[in-house]
Amino acid sequence: MRKAFIFTLDALFAVSVLAVFLTVVSFELNVPKQAYWLPELGDTFMTSLDKSGVLYGTYLQSPTDAQNTLTYYLNTLPANTNAKITIKIYTQGTGDTFNGPTTIEATKGTISQYQETHVKRVFCNVTNKKFGIAELVLSYA
């Protein structure tokens, strides 16, 4: 009588463990996966601005014109994304010192902290002794 009772408890315990395991697994499978395309979109966006000379061009524009240029390109991103790009430009002073930064910011919508992605690029203009750091933050709208 006592052995049978213990056996029943063991079986119930084993089944309970299995039920908990399956519950956890199914919960994990139902958690929304982060879309892989958001980081890739940000990466290709920044690379295309870099390779097309848009980032480099901000050296040559007034801060207002540079902001307008960046806003234009941000607005070409898909409607279901919000974005913010920040460019900091440093100019070499005497010796190893650098002056700045001059900061240029442009935004599209309001960045959501939900599934945001960051992409950075560093670019330089040796002739004008300047370098810049560009950071894009991209999120779902």
Partner: protein
């Protein structure tokens, strides 16, 4: 005990549905990803390919910088072999290149119709010195 078995059965069904749904969506997404990477990351094979001898399609002069001549060659590749040349033989392909405003600069492949699965991936590229958009749609 019956209740416990019922819960297990229910959870198992939910799990199978999740796995099946995820894998179906993931197949087309992976294919659009693979095709896009081939197009924008490398020159293809052979490196100076033409539509007549191409084995693997790539459009890049440098990373994300597309070669306009190769984009013209791409338009001459038959729709039936385009998927195979982009590493996704099980899918049909539609490729659309636009300027940053969305104005079409060229397209090739089969426009999706009567599809059971479809994935469309946007990549930014540099084309003729300007930021442009490359849409790769895979479907079947």
């Amino acid at each position: 005990m019956i209740a416990v078995v019922f819960i297990i059965n229910m959870q198992w069904g939910v799990m199978l549905d999740s796995i099946n749904g995820y894998e179906t969506a993931n197949g087309a997404e992976k294919a659009s990803h693979v095709a896009s990477l081939y197009l924008i990351n490398g020159p293809g094979y052979p490196a100076n390919w033409s539509y007549a001898d191409v084995q693997l399609v790539g459009l890049a002069k440098n990373l994300n910088v597309l070669d306009p001549n190769k984009f013209e060659q791409l338009k001459n590749i038959s729709n039936s072999t385009l998927g195979e040349k982009l590493g996704v033989p099980d899918f049909k392909i539609f490729i659309n290149l636009t300027n940053s405003n969305g104005g079409t600069m060229g397209s090739t492949g089969l426009v999706p119709n009567n599809y059971s699965t479809l994935s469309r991936l946007l990549s930014y590229v540099s084309y003729n010195g300007a930021p442009s958009k490359l849409y790769v749609t895979v479907w079947k």
